[in-house]
Symmetry: C2
Subunit: 259 residues, 2 copies
């Protein structure tokens, strides 16, 4: 390991062969010593899943020229844990996840394998960022996204970051002319309203496909959803202390007899 | 549906046949109209996973006497979504998840299927609670846990709760004599430090089992870990706005040129 260059761990949840992780590697490969440890298959919607009941496989692969790369049979969180314990034998200096094919803004961040990998690293005290492009397609154009990644990662490496820094970065689906810049935001209260498409299989049994539409219940102009709508890349700093101190105070007053 | 009784949706992540969900049903069945929608197999460690790429199965089953029960092929979060959309056709009045066989305190809540189900409901505006007993065994004694559940659910049903109320309740492994009461807490910065047990399969290929030990890095006396250690059941109100406003302010000052 080159002692002078920062060690950059890269993972994702679309799998190591997705164009998005290639764009991420290309955007930062000259900024440090890049190591890729990513799932061997798509893991979208896995949230903060970890693999307990089955063993994990880890194989060195040749995917990115000149970059040490490993594919793992587990989830994005498993990748981060395995990378630290079995490949790096130390903490990387930063951890980057993505670039996800599809948005992870607002409450969607909770369901996001991309962000879970970055959160896992941040819990460990590794400054981290997850990147997502608002374009689900395999052939998505990562030109603007790569610039955003490069700007943010350069800034992260400029000086010592807060130990548990965790950034949720979303990039709008715009071309360079339409791109307005990077904006610091809060998480919007906006989410997918799911319902289920009911079908009957050839044997007469019911089954259901999850479908839904995105609903923004948050009128704030400082949210990630609004920034993306306006053509900005959104940056939301994320925490993993999920205690609701406001409700805690309310309960302290009103649930006195019980707690 | 009985219009006078509150509708109580119950789910878990250990599967519908686990003793813990039976204890939860028994603890609250006379407090409302109970409906159970739970996974057909154990889902521990699934975090906030949802099922996108495969269809879901939902089958009415006979598990709890006099209680409408359904088993679902998906995750705990899928169960909550399906219950609302395909079984209840409305929001339940409250949603309860558990009783989990094993702890979900401190940062572990992020990995918890039990808490994810409750969080899914809270996001939807359904006051919710997840319950976990600090005993992994199938034969765990739920006597104390059932009393805690009953006390908390009774309190939740007493008056209108905050719309997004979400409680993470953990119960210590103690008998009635050793139980100290219920304590309102914050989430501890404490977590599993994982490493991987490296083995070689009969074909000469490497594989890894996740193993670890629990480490408390938080010296506060107001945390869930401390309360449980002292023999209390811990109650942490949980939020799903993960924005770190403190880091946001810091970035506003120091990242001026970029965001």
């Amino acid at each position: 390991m080159d002692q002078k260059k920062p060690v950059i761990l890269i993972t994702n949840d679309d799998g190591i062969t997705a164009p998005g992780i290639r764009a991420l590697v290309e955007a930062v490969k000259d900024l440090g010593q890049v190591i890729v440890v990513a799932p061997d298959s798509p893991q979208s919607g896995m949230g903060h899943a970890i693999t307990i009941g089955t063993p994990l496989r880890l194989n060195k692969v040749s995917v990115f020229e000149g970059i040490e790369s490993w594919q793992c049979s587990g989830t994005p969180v498993d990748c981060v844990k395995l990378a630290r314990d079995k490949i790096l034998h130390r903490k990387p200096d930063i951890c980057l996840s993505g670039i996800n094919h599809g948005a992870n803004h607002s409450i969607n961040l909770i369901y996001s394998g991309t962000m879970s990998a970055a959160m896992e690293a941040a819990i460990e005290g590794i400054p981290s960022a997850g990147f997502s492009l608002l374009d689900f397609s395999f052939d998505a154009d990562f030109t603007v996204a790569k610039k955003v990644v490069r700007n943010i990662v350069t800034r992260m490496l400029k000086e010592t970051m807060p130990e548990h820094l965790l950034l949720n970065v979303n990039i709008p689906k715009v071309d360079e002319a339409g791109f307005k810049g990077i904006k610091l935001c809060r998480q919007a209260y906006a989410k997918w309203e799911e319902n289920f498409d009911h079908r009957v299989d050839p044997r007469g049994k019911d089954y259901f496909w999850m479908v839904g539409r995105f609903v923004n219940m948050d009128q704030g102009d400082d949210t990630d959803v609004q920034a993306l709508h306006d053509g900005f890349a959104s940056v939301v700093p994320v925490k993993f202390d999920l205690t609701d101190y406001k409700i805690k105070d309310w309960m302290q007053d009103t649930w006195k007899e019980l707690v």
